[in-house]
């Protein structure tokens, strides 16, 4: 007993000692360590809360619309209005924040959300401690960057959706925009949170909205299955995030960024000095947990499989949630907690490898798909891999810049694909569509698609995508530790250019031909095309499809949004191109995601930041090399899918397929990853469930039945004694007395 007590005491002592050591060091170091992130904290303007409040208001208003059974487009315009308001507030917030000295982080205190006070024994002294998670916003330049494109794109896509979802007016329309607004609210919570618990709330909120919107067509089994798949896979990641947050609290004693960053300062100092071994092991586990959450939300290996299936949702959802914003939450998490990721020797290399391999794998799958929306989905997974790799090769600027540019061009690509899907009755197969861009009324879509494809392929100089991708590639090659990552990413860049333009050359140019999809028969979930655009057909449609079908070109809302995005895609070029990252660099550099002492960090890891690329400076060489790789990809696509193509269904590429043997088929079947997961995870679980089911049925139910039947059986055997005859009863009473007497005598013996 004594030993046990002593041991317990010793353990407590050790634990509390560790906790104290942290605070001591923090107090000690705060004085002289300049810290890699010279962040200063100040109270921010309260109007910043409107950024979060307006989408919530929109959600509530849409809910009221649903209750009032509104059968007009009212909820859409309410949503657009509120989201535009949210964007303007964000803009105002940004402009005001911009006037502050660089590195200022505003804390906007909303209200006290969670506060638990308790006492804890530390070194035999009882200390009061508290767990605080306020509903407060943390506004620094990274927050501004993220919120600007989140609210801006959300506004545009809501406008697009107002037309796109018009077939559902009066039915799911209210529900759609309620979930849409709720998503923006959750995303704002996630990005603007001043503590990890509020981030977690937003994290779960966006997951929920994603689930609701993927399963929007809830009568369609594949949509329901996709929604469940997305939710469950995200849960796996969320477990990691939750553990990471708990570990943060255990180690730092707080979940607030402010406190965490302050307590990180001494670690950053030892990092800058190249002394990784000064950082306690427990702190090094935090990023390993957090990254699992990031991988789940951002669809990285091994949890990426949900994102392609998530395309079952309406296209605006795919564009906003599953391309531009929500899936970048993982990138945001790492960027926001960048100091924590630097603390571990292994965290960033793992992120780099996961990102690069995901990028390559998704690109190979994307090359072999025929569904254009799925191709875009795989390209999203692939580009997210790029972003992770960018963060991991120590260019948080590159990662963030790629998030920024990708948000624009990928949203545009999805919206263009959505317009095609909308116009051709759900047709998405690139073998059944051709020359769409030159059909009347489709010009804006065609141009938007071209701009998007150029960006995604990284067309040199004039596209934003080129500059952001280049930053990542250059930094990867400049880093002596990350050469392999660089090569993988370079290969991926070529593949990306190829499959992107494969879509463009097949669908948007070439001979005009189309087969409509099957969604104009009045499927309960489908896109109803009753509101005809009679000019949607022309002499050029050599329809082999269903008689009497006329594709209808997009209306003003869709065209406006596409045109705006196409222009924006060029407007943002200088924001990322000038001076190695331009505006984005300023934004990221003044936030927690910046780490200036890279060189020292790498020296500790025996690395080098100025590796030459075949004798040239890696950054400059990459601009040329990646341009060439991108152009080669485009050229290959041109030759294989445009030159001499006369029908929609076939191209020269088909002739090459046998040369790849089974590889092409494997890629087309997504490398059988789903089947693999099915076999190693789902099947064993189902088998276990069967075992438990039968155990329950046979043993537990059997037991219950036994207990159910025993009383009846017992009662049946006792019943004859209740004969109704008085003398029987009297004998029973007397006999019972005798038995009781025997019982007492037995006890006395």
């Amino acid at each position: 007993m004594m030993t046990l007590l002593t041991n317990t005491h010793g353990l407590m002592h050790a634990l509390s000692g560790a906790a104290l050591a942290v605070s001591d060091e923090a107090g000690h170091a705060a004085g002289h360590a300049s810290g890699p992130v010279a962040q200063t904290f100040a109270a921010g303007p309260m109007f910043g809360l409107l950024v979060v409040a307006l989408p919530l208001l929109a959600c509530i208003l849409c809910g009221l619309c649903a209750m009032g059974r509104v059968k007009t487009k009212l909820p859409a315009f309410l949503t657009v209005l509120c989201l535009a308001g949210s964007f303007l507030v964000t803009l105002a917030l940004y402009l005001q924040h911009h006037g502050q000295p660089a590195g200022t982080a505003w804390i906007i205190q909303g209200f006290e959300w969670i506060r638990l006070d308790y006492r804890q024994m530390v070194d035999s002294v009882v200390q009061s401690r508290s767990f605080i998670a306020n509903f407060g916003l943390y506004v620094d330049s990274l927050t501004c960057l993220w919120m600007l494109f989140v609210t801006g794109l959300a506004t545009l896509i809501a406008l697009y959706a107002s037309e796109y979802m018009s077939h559902d007016v009066g039915q799911g329309y209210n529900r759609f925009f309620a979930a849409f607004s709720l998503f923006v609210f959750s995303m704002a919570c996630l990005v603007m949170a001043d503590n990890l618990v509020l981030l977690y709330l937003g994290w779960e909120g966006v997951g929920l909205c994603s689930y609701l919107l993927i399963g929007y067509f809830y009568k369609k089994p594949s949509a329901v299955a996709a929604a469940k798949k997305a939710f469950i896979l995200n849960r796996i990641g969320d477990l990691g995030l939750a553990l990471g947050i708990m570990l943060c609290y255990v180690h730092f004693g707080s979940v607030e960024y402010k406190v965490i960053f302050e307590k990180c300062a001494p670690y950053m100092a030892s990092l800058a000095a190249g002394q990784l071994d000064q950082i306690p092991l427990i702190a090094q586990f935090i990023p390993l947990c957090l990254m699992i959450g990031a991988f789940g939300k951002s669809a990285q290996l091994p949890l990426y499989v949900w994102l392609p299936d998530a395309m079952e949702g309406p296209t605006p959802v795919s564009a906003l949630i599953h391309a531009a914003t929500m899936v970048t939450a993982g990138v945001f998490l790492i960027a926001r907690t960048y100091p924590l990721f630097l603390m571990s020797e292994y965290a960033l290399p793992i992120v780099a490898w996961v990102g690069a391999l995901t990028a390559l794998l998704a690109a190979t799958i994307g090359m072999a798909q025929f569904d254009i929306k799925r191709i875009m989905a795989y390209s999203t997974v692939s580009q997210l891999g790029y972003m992770f790799a960018g963060l991991a090769v120590l260019t948080s600027v590159g990662g963030a810049a790629h998030v920024f540019t990708h948000a624009f061009f990928k949203a545009m690509l999805f919206l263009a694909c959505g317009a095609v899907m909308h116009g051709f009755a759900g047709q998405l197969d690139l073998r059944k569509l051709s020359g769409v861009g030159s059909m009347p009324g489709w010009r804006v879509v065609g141009i938007a698609m071209l701009v998007g494809c150029l960006n995604l392929a990284g067309f040199p100089i004039i596209t934003a995508g080129f500059w952001s991708k280049d930053m990542i590639l250059g930094e990867a090659f400049a880093n002596s530790q990350m050469q392999a990552i660089g090569w993988i990413l370079l290969l991926t860049a070529g593949l990306t250019a190829y499959y992107t333009f494969r879509v463009y050359f097949r669908v948007f140019v070439g001979p005009k031909h189309y087969e409509p999809g099957d969604e104009h028969h009045g499927d309960d979930h489908g896109h109803d095309h009753g509101h005809g655009h009679a000019d949607g057909h022309d002499e050029g449609h050599q329809t082999s499809g269903k008689h009497g079908f006329h594709p209808h070109a997009p209306g003003w809302a869709i065209n406006t949004v596409l045109a705006t995005l196409a222009v924006a895609a060029f407007v943002i070029v200088p924001l990322v191109a000038l001076n190695h990252g331009g505006w984005v660099k300023d934004m990221v550099g003044a936030s927690s995601a910046q780490f200036n002492e890279k060189a020292a960090y790498l020296i500790a890891a025996k690395g080098d930041l100025h590796t030459k690329f075949f004798g040239f400076d890696a950054h400059k060489a990459m601009m040329v090399v990646s341009s060439i790789v991108g152009l080669i990809g485009i050229a290959v696509a041109f030759v294989l899918h445009y030159q001499g193509r006369t029908t929609a269904a076939t191209s020269k590429a088909d002739a090459l397929l046998p040369a790849f043997g089974p590889i092409a088929k494997w890629a087309q079947n997504k490398w059988y990853v789903d089947e693999f997961y099915n076999a190693i995870v789902r099947m064993p679980l189902l088998a276990l469930a069967q075992i438990f089911h039968w155990f329950d049925k046979l043993v537990i139910d059997g037991l219950v039945d036994f207990f159910g039947w025993t009383p009846r059986g017992l009662g049946g055997s006792l019943r004859p004694a209740q004969s109704g005859e008085m003398h029987t009863y009297a004998v029973g009473m007397a006999g019972g007395l005798a038995v009781m007497a025997v019982v007492v005598i037995v006890v006395l013996m």
């Binding site: 207990f707 159910g708 025993t710 009383p711 009846r712 017992l714 009662g715 049946g716 006792l718 019943r719 004694a721 209740q722 109704g724 008085m726 029987t728 009863y729 009297a730 029973g732 009473m733 007397a734 006999g735 019972g736 007395l737 038995v739 009781m740 007497a741 019982v743 007492v744 006890v747 006395l748």
Partner: protein
């Protein structure tokens, strides 16, 4: 002697009421006759008020009345008896003489005192309550026996009178003869106890047990007394009569049988157990023979033979009651068996004893509380049954619903009654927010704190079995009527609305009292108080120091401490 009167005002009031009712019921004037039940009610209320204000309790009960064993029990029991008695009266009204009065009113028959039963019925009811209150006041075995018989004898007659059907007569006869057999057994036991201790006074018997241990004669007497008293609470092996008698009587009388004799039985059993005292080491060597004196004293349990006896009775009673209830199709038979099972539950509290006199550990308090809970909630299902009647064909009496199937479709026809039935049966089952749940919890906690884990497990299993038939009773009103049944057999409401009112009272009490549970628990904890000083080794200490202190304190040294409180 006069101070004993302070104990007996409620009984005296009831007795006066009995005499008045007995005379009024024979009046030629129907209006006077009709006043019987209100007069009855007035006297029950008066008895309750008198009980609340005049019954001594606590230290005064010890010093004035010499009621040292369970000093707070009488006041609780008497108030409880008045309250439940009043509800039962609401239910009993209109049971007898409906035909006869109808014929008289229509001029078909002249009033004949020999043909009417009203006077007897109400008078016997008050007699029975009087006997019940006297049980609570008992401090002597002879008093106790007479009180028990005063409780029971009127019930035999009430069962017989309750309907004009033959089965009521059969039930009355069975009840009488078997009751006589049961009474003879515990009377035999009382005689043995007297033989073993040389006294019939309960306090003196207790003193004898404490000083000389329990000898063989006394032990035999205790066994016979406890088993025989089992007839009153319908415990194994004295339970055989229950189903037949409950079924034969009219539903209001059944409800009364489930409360009045049972309460008398439990009060008596608790008094008898208190004479032995929960002061023995559980499972240890017993202090039985005079030669070994008080060996084994110092624990918190009954002596081992008595504990095992009650343990076996409790386990068998709840099991037999429940498994037989599962089989029943008749509502009243089912409730009869469930009444047996409830007695088994309460015996757990008797075995556990007072613990440390807190509500959570005291089995005696749990029994007190359960008597209240059971008395209140048991009324509801039977009152619902009593509120319904099948119109008679000719001059026959209207009949009550008999089988569970007769309740089918009640929800559609009479949702209020069906709701009361549901609440009542769920409360009896012990469904959590309702009163029955709060009744059972202390039995569990006290049982566990006393280490009677096996018995508590049996209690839990039996509660689960109980759920089977109580849920059937609760669900039956919602089921569609059986296709084969004659649809015209819909039941009318009994003309006496007081019955429906009783059902509503009981059902709402099952909800409302659950909310007021903590106050009731506090009161029950006080009611079940057993003075450990009185009950333990130093049983006679409070009296002896008084004498010595008077002698020594005649000349106090410094003027202080001259008076020592008797219970100090």
């Amino acid at each position: 002697m006069m101070e004993r009167l302070a104990y007996l005002w409620p009984e005296i009031a009831l007795f006066i009421g009995t005499c008045i009712v007995m005379v009024m019921g024979l009046s030629h004037n129907p209006a006077v006759r009709r006043l019987c039940s209100p007069i009855c009610g007035i006297f029950i209320v008066a008895a309750g008020v008198l009980a609340a204000y005049t019954t001594p309790w606590g230290e005064s009960a010890v010093s004035i009345a010499g009621q040292t064993l369970l000093p707070n029990m009488p006041i609780f029991a008497k108030v409880l008896i008045s309250v439940v008695g009043l509800v039962l009266l609401l239910l009993l009204a209109g049971t007898v003489d409906r035909q006869e009065e109808g014929l008289i009113a229509r001029g078909k028959r002249a009033f004949d005192p020999l043909r009417t039963n009203r006077a007897e019925f109400y008078a016997f009811y008050l007699f029975s309550l009087t006997g019940l209150m006297l049980c609570a006041s008992a401090d002597d075995l002879i008093w106790l026996f007479l009180a028990l018989e005063l409780t029971s004898l009127p019930t035999y007659i009430m069962v017989t009178l309750s309907t004009s059907a033959n089965k009521s007569r059969e039930a009355g006869v069975k009840y009488f003869f078997l009751g006589a057999l049961g009474a003879s057994i515990f009377l035999f036991g009382f005689a043995f106890i007297y033989g073993g201790t040389g006294t019939t006074n309960l306090n003196a018997i207790h003193a004898s047990f404490v000083q000389n241990g329990i000898n063989g004669i006394a032990l035999a007497g205790l066994v016979m007394a406890l088993v025989g008293l089992g007839f009153k609470i319908a415990s194994v092996p004295m339970h055989f009569y229950t189903a037949d008698v409950y079924e034969g009587a009219a539903a209001p009388v059944t409800a009364m049988l489930a409360f009045v004799p049972k309460t008398a039985g439990f009060i008596s059993i608790l008094l008898l157990c208190a004479t032995i005292g929960w002061q023995y080491v559980p499972g240890g060597e017993t202090a039985l023979m005079p030669a070994v004196g008080v060996q084994g004293v110092g624990g918190t349990a009954l002596p081992e033979p008595i504990r095992v006896l009650l343990w076996v009775i409790a386990a068998m009673t709840m099991t037999v009651g429940n498994v037989l209830a599962v089989m029943q199709a008749s509502i009243k038979r089912m409730l009869a068996y469930s009444s047996i099972a409830h007695s088994g539950y309460m015996l757990v509290g008797v075995i556990v004893g007072p613990g440390n006199n807190t509500f959570a550990t005291s089995g005696v308090s749990a029994v007190m509380f359960y008597l209240l809970v059971y008395g209140v909630m048991n009324v509801a299902p039977l009152a619902v049954v009593a509120s319904l009647e099948k119109p008679a064909r000719s001059d026959d009496e209207p009949t009550e619903p008999e089988t569970l199937d007769d309740l089918r479709g009640l929800w559609k026809r009479r949702p209020a009654l069906a709701g009361m039935m549901v609440i009542g049966s769920l409360a009896l089952l012990g469904f959590p927010p309702l009163l029955g749940f709060f009744g059972k919890v202390p039995l569990f906690t006290a049982g566990i704190s006393a280490g009677e884990v096996a018995l508590v497990i049996i209690l839990g299993l039996n509660s689960a079995i109980g759920a089977y038939y109580y849920l059937r009773l609760a669900a039956m009103p919602f089921l569609a009527e059986t296709p084969g049944a004659v649809p015209s057999e819909s039941y009318d409401l009994h003309p006496r609305t007081s019955r429906t009112f009783a059902a509503a009272l009981s059902a709402s009490a099952a909800v409302v009292l659950a909310l007021a549970g903590s106050q009731l628990m506090d009161i029950s904890a006080k009611a079940g108080y057993v003075d450990s000083r009185v009950n333990g080794m130093d049983r006679l200490q409070p009296f002896k120091p008084k004498l010595t202190s008077v002698e020594d304190g005649g000349r106090p040294a410094n003027g202080a401490g001259a008076v020592v409180a008797p219970a100090n």
